[in-house]
Symmetry: C2
Subunit: 186 residues, 2 copies
């Protein structure tokens, strides 16, 4: 296996600051062969969680809402940004409760993944939440109107394999969660 | 199923232009309840392809390179941006050839997925390329040093389920491709 050297950041210049949502930087980088590249964009965006909640009867809890980035009605798991100082698991439990009114007994972090291999753009922390059950009514506090939908695992699998989900993070989270659920089946 | 209305864009203001890589907009939007929200960020970034190439013997062709967004050495499928006027399938074939020196006989588009449900940020087009075979030496033309690696499907599956891939788009593409390959097995 080759031992590639990292790029060296000679200078990082902040060119747009819309904290806490977005910071755009221009990096001057030196490549391993000595070549210097100017203006390579690096984006700071907040980390977020995606929670795939499954209740004991095998239903998966999803959210349907209009998403402005998609420009359409979208079906996706509960998700949200880490708030100040919050760890990812706390965010996951908070978002599950706020968006669906549910709590869960089992929490598995399936990984944390960079949004853009070139630009950065923060990380997505994916959780599988098992033995999920309703404890209160949803109250997301989000700008979006939201509807909570309980779908059989087989229906979610079908939507996933046929490419019907719209967000790349949804596809990643559903795929990993379905694989984990299959591993745990007798 | 509820019939949610889309948000209405009252005004879209370009606040940073680094075309063709990035345009940042601030949207003034009207929500369905009449509330007006200022400064909702919308990002335009180029669409890209991810190609999961499988040869007839069951090996998957991957790339190992330093990725600046990850800040580390990264294992990922061949991928790249759509260039001017290019359709996604042409990009996929071009990137596979440039980055791995391979061509493929079978091409399935497994879906196109929005990078950010809130911000937009372009779409990822995921392709499964089957009966992949080497026809020339790789010559990516990219800034990154790259190494081509052929891995057994089972090894790729193991890396996927244990959360070892670093990019969210890699996780989505590998998951969908493995599911499609399993469906096609006798």
């Amino acid at each position: 296996m080759s031992d590639f050297k990292p790029w060296k950041i000679i200078q990082r210049k902040l060119i747009l600051d819309r904290s806490p949502w977005l910071q755009v930087h221009e990096d001057q980088v030196e490549l391993p062969d000595g070549q210097v590249v100017d203006g390579y964009l690096h984006l700071e965006q907040p980390d977020f969680v995606i929670v795939v909640p499954v209740q004991s009867g095998g239903l998966i809890v999803m959210i349907r809402s209009y998403k402005h980035g998609v420009g359409a009605l979208d079906l996706h798991p509960p998700a949200g940004y880490l708030e100040n100082g919050e760890d990812a698991l706390s965010t996951a439990k908070r978002e599950l409760l706020e968006e669906t009114g549910c709590e869960a007994e089992g929490w598995d972090e399936l990984g944390a993944f960079i949004v853009s291999g070139n630009r950065g753009s923060g990380s997505a922390h994916i959780f599988l939440a098992t033995d999920c059950h309703q404890v209160t009514t949803p109250d997301s506090g989000d700008l979006e109107e939201q509807e909570v939908i309980w779908l059989p695992v087989d229906d979610v699998n079908q939507l996933w394999v046929e490419g019907s989900f719209r967000q790349i993070a949804t596809v990643a989270a559903i795929g990993l969660s379905l694989a984990r659920l299959k591993m745990e089946l007798p």
